[in-house]
């Protein structure tokens, strides 16, 4: 069965330190993978996507993600975390044309 997993419910990181939010996938064929961010009381906002090409994808707000086919992972990264990055992050993959499967979400807390 196709799935997207986020193994960590919460990630804490000090401001200025690098951050990583993990995502692993199990999808058939060539995967399309996405990251979304949800700020409190807001809808999800698109951060970045991997379709094909370079394994390192750059997105909004200084985030990037690394696609690793051998490890079936698509971890979200940022070199230097900001307090304003604190939010809920979702990894997602399309399941067919008209449906996404989302990971369970990882709450990122950046400590001042």
């Amino acid at each position: 069965a196709q799935s997207v997993a986020q193994p960590e419910d919460q990630v804490n990181v000090a401001e200025g330190n690098p951050l990583t939010v993990k995502c692993t996938y199990s999808v058939s064929g060539n995967p399309y993978l996405f990251w979304y961010v949800q700020y409190p009381n807001r809808g999800l906002q698109f951060l970045l996507k991997y379709i094909t090409g370079d394994n390192l994808v750059k997105g909004s707000y200084g985030f990037e993600a690394e696609f690793n086919k051998s490890q079936t992972s698509f971890h979200l990264k940022k070199p230097s975390a900001l307090v304003s990055d604190s939010a809920l992050y979702f990894c997602a993959a399309p399941f067919g044309t008209y449906k996404y499967i989302f990971g369970t979400g990882t709450r990122l807390k950046v400590l001042a």
Binding site: F34, Y36, R42, G43, F46, L88, T97, F102, T104, G105
Partner: protein, 112 residues
Amino acid sequence: DTAVSQTPKYLVTQMGNDKSIKCEQNLGHDTMYWYKQDSKKFLKIMFSYNNKELIINETVPNRFSPKSPDKAHLNLHINSLELGDSAVYFCASSQEGNYGYTFGSGTRLTVV
């Protein structure tokens, strides 16, 4: 201009009532969706519509009836509301073939 707008933002109602949530997108997208986010922040698809046609009904109780009068609108009507319907409901849209979603800001439904 808000790309995907939902109304109302908050909805508090008693068990047994019938309520509707409206969604409109001005992006010219072909496909619209309803997702439910529960108290643990899990996101689960409920319905997807492509050009006003129902494509996915993800085993949602038939108390939930989506209606798409045109491809820019997808409304959700809920009959006989139950306590377990309390959640945040997100509308989203995408252009077919481009799997990125644009989400609305959500409707927080509380059934008392």
